[in-house]
Each structure stands twice: as C-alpha cells, then as structure tokens.
Symmetry: C2
Subunit: 193 residues, 2 copies
Amino acid sequence: MTAQPFPVSEIVAAQRPHRKDAARNYDALITAAREAFAEHGAEASLEDIARRAGVGIGTLYRNFPTRRHLFESVYAGEVNDLCRVAGQVADREPWEALTSWLHRFVDYTVTKRAIREAMDDESDIFLACRESMYQAGGPLFERAQKAGAARTDLNFDDLLRMVAGITATNFLDDAQRDRVLGVALDGVRTPAV
Amino acid sequence: MTAQPFPVSEIVAAQRPHRKDAARNYDALITAAREAFAEHGAEASLEDIARRAGVGIGTLYRNFPTRRHLFESVYAGEVNDLCRVAGQVADREPWEALTSWLHRFVDYTVTKRAIREAMDDESDIFLACRESMYQAGGPLFERAQKAGAARTDLNFDDLLRMVAGITATNFLDDAQRDRVLGVALDGVRTPAV
DNA sequence: GTTGAAGCGGAGGTCTGCCTCCGTTACAGT
DNA sequence: ACTGTAACGGAGGCAGACCTCCGCTTCAAC
C-alpha cells in the first residue's frame, strides 16, 4: 500500500464506517450502486439499489443522505482507481502511456452514462475528482506534447471531454469503440510534417 | 419545394393531422417536446410538455400514444432537416462538404442528450432515420474517401457514432465543442504520407 | 345554418420512487 | 457477560408522473 497523493483518495477513505456490519453494508451499497448506475444511469432507483445490496432503504439513506452523495462516492472510487493506473503506465513511451491510460478510462468506467453530467458538476467531490484526474493524466499528456507526439493546440480538458464523450456513447461492440477512440486519438497526434 | 427521397420524410409528413385546430396543437406539441427533450433528455415529463404546448394531456396522448411515438416524431423531424442540408453542401470540396455537414449535425441537433439511445433503437422509425442519414451523409463520406481525403479503415457508422458522442457531450462552450470535433475529424483525415 | 364526427381537456385512479421515523437488533468497550 | 450506543430496516405518508375516460367544444362538409 503506497501513499495516495490524489485529493480524491482521502475522500474515498474517509467515508467508510468503522463498525463491522456498517462497513459491510457500505461496501454492498457501493457495489450495487455501481451496477445500477451502469444499467440505468444516474437516475437509477435508490430503493432498487438498497434491494440489490440486501439492506433496508433506511441504511442507504444513513450512509448517503442524497442521491448525489451516493453517486459521488461511486464515481470517486472509480476516479481513484484510474489515478493509480496512471502511475503504472508512466514508464512506457510517452504516446503509448497516454493512450493506454485513456483506453483504460473508457473500458473501466462503469458509470459511463453519467460521466457527462459529472464533468460539469461544481460540488467539492467532483472538483476533487477532476483535480485528481488532472494530476494523474495531465503529466502523461504534457510528456507526449514535449516529446512531439501530441499536438499543442488543445488542452487536457479538451482531451478529457472528447474521451468522455466517446466513453458515454453506445457502440455496436467493444471493437468499434476501440476503433473510434483510436481514430479520435490519431487526431490528437502531431501531424507528420 | 423539391421531392424528398429520404424514407423519413414520408413518415414526417404523414403524422400531421388535417383539421386546423388539431394541426396547430400537433405543431405546438412538437415544439414543446423539442424544448423539453433538449432540457431534460428523453425522460422529460409528458404532462410538462402538454403544459408548455398549452394543450391538455389527453391531446398529447391522442397524437402520440406513447412517449416513444412523441420522441420519434421530434427526432425524425430533425433527421429530415439534416438530410436536406446534406444536399445543400454537395457542391463543395469533398472534405469540406463532409465536415460542414457534421458540424451542422452537432450544432443543430437539439435532442442531443437522447441521441445515444436513438442510435441503438430498432423500431421502424429509428431504422428509417438511420437509413436516411446513411443515404444523405454516406455519399459525402465516400466521396471524401475516393478523393483521398478520408481514411478508408473506418465506416460511416463509426464516424456517425463518434460525432454523436461528441454531440451528446457537455462542453464549456461552443468553441470547445468545435475545437474537439475538429481534432477528432483530423483523425478521420488521411494521414499525410 | 345544420349536424355529425373529430378533437379537446382535465379529473382521477394507479403506480412508483423519495424520504422520515422509530421500534428492534447487533456491535464493541469494559 | 453487560450495556450503552450506533446501526438496522421497512412501514407509511408524500409527490409526481402515467394514462384512461367521457362530457364538452369546434370544425368542416353539405
């Protein structure tokens, strides 16, 4: 267990309750919510989530006073994971490191359908998520730019939103999503002179 | 008024009722629904749409027995408009024609938030919409490919979904959306040899 | 102008989700 | 083992959306 330098990681750790049964329920709720959000988007029924988790609706509300709290916790968990992945690819070639991280982003993120909304949210947690993503992915992008592999007339926010858009889109299959992401990323590449 | 060769155009024309008051209400409902879908996505409240249109909920249901019927009609109207635009750009340079049509797509479409779902729907009307989009935009793409301006290792469906993804994404402003779309389309361009 | 049919609208029944409240249960510190 | 407290869970009240039904209105054909 290494140190977690990202703002979001503290938030993630601080939420989980101490008592044994409470912690178990908390985990079950996060898991169930991840599934439900993946299937139905951020509007998934909270009572359904509680049912899936095998806990009462009251327990859900005690842990997460609002729908937003719950969604934030799920999303923050995913962002936290992705930030750690960014460290793991740092030793590769600049362009390879960047694109493999972005591919991971679209494949891993299960809250796909709700990402667009999260991009514009100004609450503390979403700000921390974005801040963490910048800290984790920004250096990969800058390194690719400095290496002459990525064009310099767009910024990291542009790139992240482009990838988020592709992430949130339905494709016929994973092969098509990969193909399309590859094409879009080719546009980010510095054109051959 | 020229002939409309697209499958969707017949559908659009056939829906509108004959009687004067009925036609007026129909138009008001389509307009109100366009607004509501733009604001709240495809799950917008039907009672709210009827209120905006200034008609009773019963009138809404008589014209559109289900939410799907209403959404299909709004969407088909937009597709119909876009298909006509495709004819208007056909005299430009191949690459210019294609990209200006696609920019028009992201700017004009007001049902942005619901497009992703429409891409995968198998109902008659959505099939007709997609068929029409292929008839209208496919030739622009093929012409760009034949002219050596667009790469040949992706198909028109790939392209449309990529653009739809960017369309449905929230950006900070229109300039960012345009910038990102431009970058993604650069990826579609044949790389300089 | 008459008249029949097409169209109108909204009251109201139903369903589903949200959220609170409180009697019961299970944990953990002593 | 005991016990205070934190956590549990689901009944139930509330809100809002869906959709039907039917008495009233408006159109347009004659």
